[in-house]
Subunit: 531 residues, 2 copies
């Protein structure tokens, strides 16, 4: 009989405080749906009252499946709960639960709140009571709990116990400044569970010593049964406890999985990588390739030191199976990957070749050369596929761009306003006829070039009608404007399929052109367009 361990996500509240992250209302709703879909038990939706967007969110999202939780402060000292406008907004929000953050470090009570320990305890009691009177499930976040315990353990424990005795379902111990160490967390939580049953104790860790995950697990080992964290470890400063690292560990490591059950089932676990990437896309953040479990490189091994016998049994070099979390084991297509890696990639794209075919060596050499100057084929599988198909001789010469011209003109117009006009002109040879010339205006030079390239490709125009550019990423390698630019372009077609292509050049327009052309040719190949 396993103990139930609950997961509480604060991506929409604590995660929203991340430097550079700003959620729109529809972002928040989408994220809430993703969280419920994974099997998260509690979703902290935000801070209604403090944030008008959150008030609206609660109006729309409370029937989402998980326990939708509003966050706010305990009633202000010297007021009653009924006379506290912040409290009123919290109680009125359409939430299943309310999480109050309470002071539990006597220094903060004296200096920040300018009140007494007794008044602080009363404020905890009154807030919990007010929420229970409105039929809400109640949680109390004990702010700076571990520092508070170190400074004055009796007071900190009194705050925790008071919250529980008044009827809080959960007393959550927060390492608010992230500086507590795992062995300290284990010891202190061990003291708390003598006063508040572990089944009612939660942990809220921050990553300031890079131990938020370890702190969360340490608390669980000491008896806590709720972990608060965020997707992708989002959060201010160094982030909150990363649910993408915690969930697979709790599900796949016997030390935890044998004794504890979480709300995430195996199918949901298999969606974890996708959810991680979707969140990054939504926030337009570069994914962390090295993220545990879900990172693109998490199961990628570069060193060629594995004997093939070992390769046959991944359990001998991988700590968990990548498929369990929806990730993949990529043997890099790189100069250090070797023949077996390339053969695996060729098989994946449907090119059957004899393993002694000399063109494999040719392909390896070309890949190695190009990656040395900046091409990143593991990020651009469609470009790799074209390259491979070209080496093995199977890509028709559909179109040849004879010339292009991109012009950006910036001036002050008659109304004394600064305006910019961007025009691209392209001349292409398609089959045998006359060259085709197209022109297009765009918002920027690459946009204009993209539109011009796809405007008239003669007999191939029908094949590229549904093609659109969905993402454009630029990276300058080696710094400066004279340096090499790598462009990655993601495209999508009418069937919903998407692919990524790459271009590299010291000139960003040339780099973009390469990636755009690869995408067009890839689409023609995919569509089986006749040569």
């Amino acid at each position: 009989m396993k103990d139930r361990l609950y997961l509480y996500d604060t991506t929409l509240r604590d995660g929203a405080q991340t430097n550079g992250v700003d959620f729109t209302l529809s972002d928040k709703l989408a994220i809430a749906h993703m969280l419920a879909e994974i099997g998260i038990d509690y979703i902290e939706g935000g801070y209604p009252g403090a944030n008008p967007l959150d008030t609206e969110l609660f109006a729309q999202a409370h029937s989402i499946g998980a326990t939708f939780t509003a966050f706010g402060m305990t009633r202000r000292p010297g007021r009653s709960a009924a006379n506290d406008p912040g409290m009123a907004m919290l109680l009125d929000a359409h939430a299943d639960a309310i999480c109050f953050v309470a002071k539990t470090w006597d220094y903060h009570v004296r200096v920040a709140l300018e009140t007494t320990p007794e008044e602080n305890l009363a404020s905890i009691r009154d807030s919990v009571a007010a929420a229970k009177a409105r039929d809400r499930e109640v949680l109390v976040d004990c702010e700076h709990f571990f520092d508070g315990f170190k400074a004055n353990p009796d007071f900190a424990l009194a705050c925790a116990e008071t919250a529980w005795r008044e009827g809080a379902r959960w007393v959550v111990l927060c390492d608010t400044n992230g500086g507590t160490l795992p062995h300290e967390v284990e010891r202190i939580v061990g003291e708390v569970v003598k006063r508040v049953p572990g089944a009612h104790v939660g942990i809220h860790a921050h990553n300031d010593t890079e131990q938020a995950v370890a702190n969360s697990l340490a608390a669980v080992r000491a008896g806590a049964r709720q972990i608060q964290g965020t997707l992708n470890g989002l959060g201010e400063r160094c982030g909150n406890a990363n649910l993408m690292s915690l969930i697979p560990t709790l599900k796949l490591k016997p030390a935890y999985a044998d004794h504890l059950e979480i709300g995430v089932d195996d199918a949901a676990l298999g969606r974890l990588t996708r959810v991680s990437r979707r969140l990054d896309e939504m926030l337009n953040r570069a994914p962390n390739r090295h993220a545990p479990y879900v990172g693109a490189s998490a199961f990628v091994t570069k060193a060629g030191i594995h004997a093939s016998a070992i390769l046959k049994d991944p359990a001998t070099y991988e700590h968990v199976a990548p498929e369990a979390v929806g990730n993949r084991r990529d043997l890099l297509v790189s100069d250090q990957g070797g023949r077996s890696n390339v053969l695996a990639e060729l098989a994946r794209i449907g090119l059957t070749v004899d393993k002694n075919d000399p063109r494999i060596g040719t392909l390896l050499d070309v890949v190695k050369e190009r990656q040395a100057i900046g091409y990143a084929y593991e990020s651009a599988p469609a470009s790799f596929e074209l390259l491979a198909r070209r080496v093995f001789g199977t890509v028709p010469d559909y179109v040849e761009v004879l010339k292009f011209d991109v012009n950006v003109e910036h001036r002050i117009n008659a109304l004394n306003k600064r305006v910019t006009a961007t025009v691209a002109v392209v001349k292409v040879q398609v089959g045998d006829g006359e060259p085709l010339i197209s022109a297009a205006e765009g918002i920027g030079p690459v946009h204009a070039l993209d539109l011009a390239l796809r405007k008239d490709l003669g007999k191939y125009q029908e094949y590229i009608q549904g093609l659109e550019l969905t993402d454009y990423r630029v990276r300058i390698l080696d710094g400066g404007t004279g340096a090499v630019t790598r462009v990655l372009i993601e495209s999508q077609d009418e069937t919903g399929a998407s692919w990524t292509t790459v271009g590299v050049s010291p000139n960003i327009i040339d780099a973009s052109f390469q990636a755009l052309m690869d995408s067009i040719v890839y689409k023609l190949v995919r569509s089986g367009a006749p040569a």
Copy 2:
């Protein structure tokens, strides 16, 4: 009397296996110097024999200050140490120490090496003996030790003990696949130190469950006295144990600092942030803003919930002082920062204003508006300074760009080669005379525009002679080519001072233009150029 804890860096060997990282010889030398400068005890320089670059590195770097260590495998089964060419290269390398990686999981011994446990132990003994005969300090990395211990504890322990008894200075327990949990590490290391004294035991952890730091500290608590890690947590898959997170914890947290001493002194600790950033620059990797201790956001708090009384005593909300690691406490210049943050920034740039000056509100509004459309002032302090100076009315109208035209032409030349020509033409008004027109060719459009803008600014030309662009970073916000582009430009002048400016526009050339102009005007302001 404190125990000495040794730090061993494997950035140049294990870190070099990071996806996307490739070190040149001069990179490796520069990193080795940085490591010795911080006070790292051992530098694993590489894999001489396997990598020709490393053979050269050892020839040049061995007198660097730390114990320079060569890495390689124990002698191959069935050969003698004298008959193993890989061993010969290792023994011949100009290293102070040699670190052998040995199998310690019986499964790998049988299946990968296809040999017997006895032969494996002999291979450990012979390798250690051969290195000691050449007066090298010897370390033995026990590969997959924790999985090996779980599968067959007697064999794993025998390997470890054999290495020590033969004369290895260090027996390093490696969590090669990164899947071991901290409480397991603590327990297993506790068993090892019954056979090998803790003062001779090291830990080499990987971050596959996001607990490499916690695993390293758990091993130390069980008695180990060497930690192996990398700068910035570099390493394949999810990285190695991050020395930038470990060093400050070991120096600043009493739980460790009271009992253990490391080779990093307080001054070296104060240089840690700078070393972290330099390494990222060298590798052209975007720094992790959220990195513990050294990240740009590590001590940045966005929420306005701190009472000013608390702000006066940072110890109440920060777990360590940022200055100790050479970092800073930044109160964000953002819409959530408020008046006090902006006043602090204004003071920093030398603009003394009355705290009730209504222009502060104006500045706050402009900053908020612009950041909503993509400007990132916390990354571009020089642009913020110009903005502030303009709001407070103190920036002369030095130059006005009336028009610019940037053209990129790509064609197939007479030799059937694809060539690209990029030209920028700029028309500027300087003071009262005739407009000045300049043209320049560049490698790419921004390069051409930069050269044209700085070619002839009339009476201001002398002030910008020493100006050069040292870094150019592009980020597309909201995806696609029609989206907003943010450009950050770092510039440097003849005094060695450097500054960063920002530009935002859907058109990348316009965005670059803004950042370039801000840089030029900033230089003119700095130089005190007359209006």
